[in-house]
Amino acid sequence: MSSFKIFDIAGSGMSAQSVRLNTVASNLANADSVSGDPNNVYRAKHPVFQAVMGSPGDLSTAKVNVTGIAQSQAAPETRCDPGNPLADAQGNVYAPNVNVVEEMADMISASRSYQNNVEVLNTSRDMLLATLKLGQ
């Protein structure tokens, strides 16, 4: 039955948003993981979403797919901290290019989108259950 596709669609949305939440958690957890080598420092990760259109005979399905995780190409932040055991010859350490404020906003957006999909799922489930009781 066609209504069961909603479970697939909303499920793919929930899975994509949880991948996004995972990358936010990873970025926030590593926001202060400094390194002595600018090429070896943690870089902010962001998922890339893509809509998956249904086959030509199937017009309405458009699931979400996470096609990959992109790493931010922004330069790492240089901090002068000679006392740090990881500091290089100039006394510098390199902090990840994670923008904490941006990550927090991203987290709220992901959580709201996840809730949206849960709401769609709940409504569709109620509708299906009501349809099952038709004629009783």
């Binding site: 909603i6 709401e119 569709s124 349809t131 038709l134």
Partner: protein, 149 residues
Amino acid sequence: MRTSLDSYLGIHPQALSLEAQRNELLAANLANVDTPNYKARDIDFQSALATASGNSAAAPSSALPLSPSNSAAQSGTSAAAATGGSGNGSAIDAASLKYRVPMAPSLGGKTVDEQLEQSAFAENSVRYQATLTLLNSALRNLMTAITGS
């Protein structure tokens, strides 16, 4: 006297199936609310129902503006075209499936407005419940007529 069950139930079975499919479309729009370049899609419910019930004279009227082509909705970007037949028993064909005209352009090229889609989804589920109630009472009437009690 012969009464066909189809004519007894009237337009409601078609309406129910159409509402279920519209809910699917709106769920897809809501799932893709963060997908760049995604073009929101919807059906013009009035005209789709008129087509499904064999009365295509009704004028299309929709609360939300819809465009028949993706390019009119937003130019310069590409998305999968809404092509395909209605051979799978679906009441929605390529002609009635349309793209949402965005109220404001967005940076990522997507035309999904979360609040609009949410309210359309809520409205459509209420429609579905209403159709279900009408169908239910029609069937109950029939049962009363059969059992006579």
